[in-house]
């Protein structure tokens, strides 16, 4: 009797070659094969150019394609990283990484691309990365919302504006679309805050006596006593459409991360939902691609900010989509994630953040059965590395601007004429601060998040044969017993997949030219050969809806008649198939 693992032989060869490579240079002294500045953010064209550079530099491992077109006509780039020498893309487990579904949450794009770049730069140098490039596929989709991204770069914006895409929408239901967005009153390219001085005691703010840049809100009963003499009007803008409201119907006005079909709710329940799931060209393109790639076993969707590794569900009504077996996988990844990403917490969306209907990772986890995280990149605590500064939040931010950014991110209050309010003052933070790190801290954010993705990808299922045993069953029949182990945290089929009937069960076939399969089943006893859960039909083709658990094994047994060579094949959607050969 002999057996081998057909699909790992090529990998072994690669690993042996890898060991012949001279000791690698440490990253800090290494010349990059493709030097890219990772201490900045790139607009749409810049991101596409980086995609071209990466795919161009490693054409044998990386392919650039465009999987759709945004509302405004921007092509949607997708990088696929896969080593064809170790098997086809469809035969390997894959990780999907995207970013920037919210136009203003720009750093997700760089984080996705940094991951691609890191994998390719260090492939062949670092075994952990080489084996991942050989064993897995990465689908890297840096910009879900390129229109929102480009608008964030091009137009006056805040750190939080341009979250939406650019399909016009009538937010105030007056029959006109996008007619009253924010306005850059003084044309300085920034959208800031507006304040106005009023009669003493009639306002609701005073200026901080230590730093008049800071507005201090005064409670109603103290307004007269403290002489409150300032009011704030919100974001820079005026009443463009004369309806008495300011900035109530700006560009776009929806949220593409509420447009996915898991627990999707219409607009009257969920802001920004869109007309129906996949109603936007960007979400439809992603939906179509992911639905057609059942090999995807891990998902990361980068957002900003807050320092979180989030998993679903988005609402408490869907907790049953996370059975305990899956929760333990999330926990295993999340807990090490908290070590990889200091300042980040492993959290559950509905419980720790807010309720979301129709979120992306809810769809990938709950509808498609994929272990999915969404990281909120950058946490405010990182400005001072978590050290205690004796300053409150406002003072910290201004101190940081004064002494580390040298005034780059703050615009001092200055007078501007306003069409509705007379003269006002505008001032505040520029868009590139608050939700995104300062340039000198970008690369660390990218690297740590890429490392988390790599850790997540390393947990995608991988099968190995534990044992293959043949025993006499009497009367000319034999027992064939196979034990297979999944050496990773993520099961071949998540518990939710079995629970909800997602995807195809793993299928184990046994075949031989001179083999008659009399009975077969799972749950074979280690000691009592007659004890296993025999199936009623098709014992030669066992269907494992529960798959093979993470860091667990299954034992299968057949009663067969005949002789000669036979093959057992484990065919699963999210793992490299395992082929075991034996002889009776």
């Amino acid at each position: 009797m002999s057996h081998h693992r057909r699909n790992t032989s090529a990998l072994l060869a690669v690993l042996m070659l890898g060991s012949l490579v001279p000791a690698t240079l440490a990253q800090s002294t290494r010349e990059h094969r493709l030097p890219i500045s990772w201490s900045r953010f790139y607009d749409y064209d810049g991101i596409v150019d980086l995609c071209r550079q990466i795919a161009g530099e490693w054409p044998e491992l990386c392919r650039l394609e465009f999987i759709g077109t945004s509302h405004e006509g921007r092509a949607l780039p997708l990088l696929t990283i896969s080593n064809p020498a170790t098997g086809s893309e469809a035969s390997k487990p894959a990780m999907w990484i995207d970013g920037n579904v919210h136009g203003n949450e720009v750093q997700g794009s760089e984080a996705a691309l940094y991951t691609a770049w890191l994998l390719l730069e260090r492939n062949g140098e670092l075994d952990a990365i080489t084996s991942l490039v050989d064993e897995a596929v990465f689908y890297i989709f840096p910009m879900v919302n390129p229109d929102g991204r480009q608008f964030w770069f091009d137009a006056p914006n805040t750190a939080s504006s341009s979250r939406s895409g650019k399909r016009p929408f009538d937010n105030d239901r007056d029959g006109r679309v996008d007619e009253d967005g924010p306005d850059d009153l003084d044309g300085d390219g920034e959208l800031l805050r507006m304040r106005k001085r009023v009669e003493v005691g009639t306002g609701d703010y005073i200026l901080d006596p230590d730093d008049p840049r800071i507005m201090v809100r005064v409670s109603r009963e103290d307004r007269v006593k403290l002489g409150a003499d300032w009011v704030m009007f919100g974001g820079e803008g005026y009443d463009n459409d004369g309806d008495g409201r300011v900035n109530e119907d700006g560009p776009g006005g929806y949220d593409m991360n509420r447009n996915w079909p898991a627990g999707w709710m219409p607009r009257y329940v969920q802001y920004g939902a869109g007309d129906y799931p996949f109603s936007f060209p960007e979400t439809a393109a992603v939906g179509s691609f992911i639905s057609q790639h059942p090999n995807i076993a891990a998902v990361q969707s980068f957002h900003n900010s807050g320092g979180m590794m989030l998993r679903g569900p988005g609402t408490d009504s869907r907790t049953d989509y996370y059975p305990s077996a899956d929760r333990s996988v999330y926990r295993a990844i999340g807990e090490d994630g908290e070590r990889i990403l200091p300042f980040y917490d492993y959290l559950v969306i509905y419980d720790d953040l807010y309720e979301v209907h129709g979120g992306f990772v809810d769809w990938t986890a709950e509808t498609l059965g994929i272990i999915s995280f969404t990281n909120e990149l950058w946490a405010g605590d990182q400005y001072f590395g978590g050290s205690d500064t004796d300053l409150d939040r406002n003072q910290q931010r201004l101190f940081f601007d004064d002494h580390l950014m040298f005034g780059e991110t703050w615009v001092d209050w200055h007078e501007v004429p306003h069409p509705d309010y007379g003269t006002v003052e505008v001032g505040g933070y520029r868009k590139m601060t608050g939700r995104t790190p300062p340039a000198f801290m970008i690369e660390e954010m990218l690297h740590r998040n890429a490392a988390f993705c790599i850790f997540h990808a390393q947990q995608m299922p991988k099968l190995e044969l534990v044992s293959l045993d043949v025993a006499d069953a009497g009367g000319g029949a034999s027992y064939i017993t196979v034990e297979i182990r999944n050496t990773r945290w993520i099961p071949t089929r998540t518990a939710v997949s079995a629970l909800k009937g997602v995807g195809r069960p793993d299928i184990v076939t046994i075949a031989g030219d001179d083999l008659v399969v009399v009975a077969g089943g799972t749950g074979a006893s280690r000691f009592d050969l007659a004890s296993f859960n025999a199936v009623e039909h098709e014992p030669e083709r066992l269907k494992l809806d529960g798959g093979i658990p993470g860091h667990g094994s299954i034992r299968l047994r057949w009663v067969v008649a005949g002789s000669g060579p036979f093959t057992v094949t484990i065919d699963a959607e999210k793992v490299v198939d395992l082929v075991v050969e034996g002889v009776l």
């Binding site: 009538d170 239901r173 007056d174 029959g175 459409d241 004369g242 309806d243 008495g244 079909p261 898991a262 627990g263 999707w264 709710m265 219409p266 607009r267 009257y268 329940v269 969920q270 802001y271 007309d275 129906y276 799931p277 996949f278 939906g287 639905s291 509808t367 909800k500 009937g501 997602v502 995807g503 195809r504 069960p505 299928i507 009623e536 039909h537 098709e538 269907k543 809806d545 065919d571």
Partner: protein, 627 residues
Amino acid sequence: MAGPGTVALSGALLFVTLLAGPAHPDDLADRMDGLVARHPDVASVEVLGSSASGKELRALVLALGERPLAERQGLLVVAGLDGRRHSDGELVLAAAEWLLDGPGDDAASGSDAVDLAQRLGDKILVLVPVADPEGAAATSGEFGAIRALPGNRRPDDADRDGRIDEDGPNDLDGDGLITWMRVPDGAGEWLIDEHDPRALRKAEDDERGTHRLLREGLDDDGDGAFDEDGGEGVQIDRNFAHGFKEHTATGGTHPLSEPETKALVDFLLGHPGLTSVVVVGEDDTLVSAPSKARSVDRGGFGGFRDPLDGLLEDDIESLAIITELFEQAADGKHDVKSSGPADGSLLAWAYHQAGRWPLGLRTWAPPEDFPGDDKKDDDKKDDDKKDGDKKDGDGGESDSDEGDADAGDADAGDADDEGDADEGDESDADGDEETEDADEPTSDPESPVPAAVLAWLDAERDGEGFVPWKAYDHPDLGPIEIGGLHPTLLVDPPSEAVEALTGRLAAFLLAVLDAGPVLAFEDVELTPHGNGLVTVELALVNTGRLPTAPRFGADARIVRPARVSLQLPAGVQRVGGPAQILVNRLEGLGGRRELRWVLSGVTKGASITVIVDTDTTADLELELTLP
């Protein structure tokens, strides 16, 4: 357009008999083209989309003049969301023919032809007779034996075994029909009816079954289940977004996953003036009122924190007006009840997510009582008056698609689909029990071969529609019998039911158009105060019968409010009153909103214009000369 004298076709001639098989959707398309050719000034065909294999989703549009359809008000009428319901599509087309060609000599209603141009005015009627062209083609025999599955034939792995559509029904006896296999089996739950050995009924609690009922076929893939992965595809009318059930094999992977459903929804969203959606099919909202939402959680960003599981009371009251129009549309009575709107259906979506009036017409339900059984008929009428015993989403729960070995069993299959109309009648049966003679024949409405239906076929159609049971030696099951009802007989209404409704439906559509909201200005008062100051006061009034929007559509901020604004000449300024007034909803028959502005800089004789811009009624403008 055609005048009353240009009767071209008589509806009755066009109805095919059951035995000839249902009309192929192409036949309906030809009839549509014929209408357009005869009435090019009012009728046109718009292709809303196409099925996965490229079958067109065709709409017949009745509209006068060149104004873009998207700016006009009217109705969308849809049939054939379940491809098996051929006659419903015929009805819709026959109604269009009635409107355009005239009622015809044989029209049951006997009504006179209408002046369609006058009745239509600027409004439009859009009619989609076959919303599931794939399913319709399949049940017309285009793809081999006719079977009773309702889906759009999208290939799928219904039993999740890694093989696509590998175990569908098989026409074992080669008669071109997928009927039933009755399999002698002491573990079965069916009994041969003692009064009619052609019929089967479910064994009672104190009886033991003698047969299993399976759809005609083989265990093609040897997995122990029959016909469990047979290319049914997605049921169109379970693929819409309100109440959509995730993780079912026949509902689709996500709401609007199917080209047919997406085409209908995109068309409706692009035509906000199609204020009513009439669905001829499984659900009814015209004979009996749909159920009221059990809990209404108002608040949150968009007006409600949860979707509703029924209609708001105000809207049920409005629907009662429409029900009255339906009753008055022709002589006689149509009282086929049903539940509805079902979860995942177009009708449910139209109300809950598109703010339209959901008007469901069920043309027919298979008889549950024996012909001439007056007593039961009376009971049924009493029962019809009861309210609140509706079961919603029934069709969604009747899926035969869980992929388990029982999928082929009749009780999990289509028989349930037919059960909706019959909720009231179950209590009927209970009520009769005390007085019932033990030997009196009964009929099991859940049976795919119910005794009452056979009796009806005997009485009305010489038994045609029943395929006699014939012995068959089955390779997997041994000696069995194959037979039962024609596969679509319990679903597809008979031609006479459709014929009886043609005039009523046509007249009803016009009546709903007539009853729509109409905006007018009333009580205009212009008060000069001197110094060029004038107060303008007037009321915006809905003089139509129906409200400007369903209560839910307005409160859930789905229907766009009417926007009232002023156009002022140079020099005149608005010094009091808002630049625009959004009027969310006005009740019918006099619902009003008072409007008031103060203007300055007015010179005597200057004229201003009050403008109303709205989706659900014609726009309105009033020019006022200021004192």
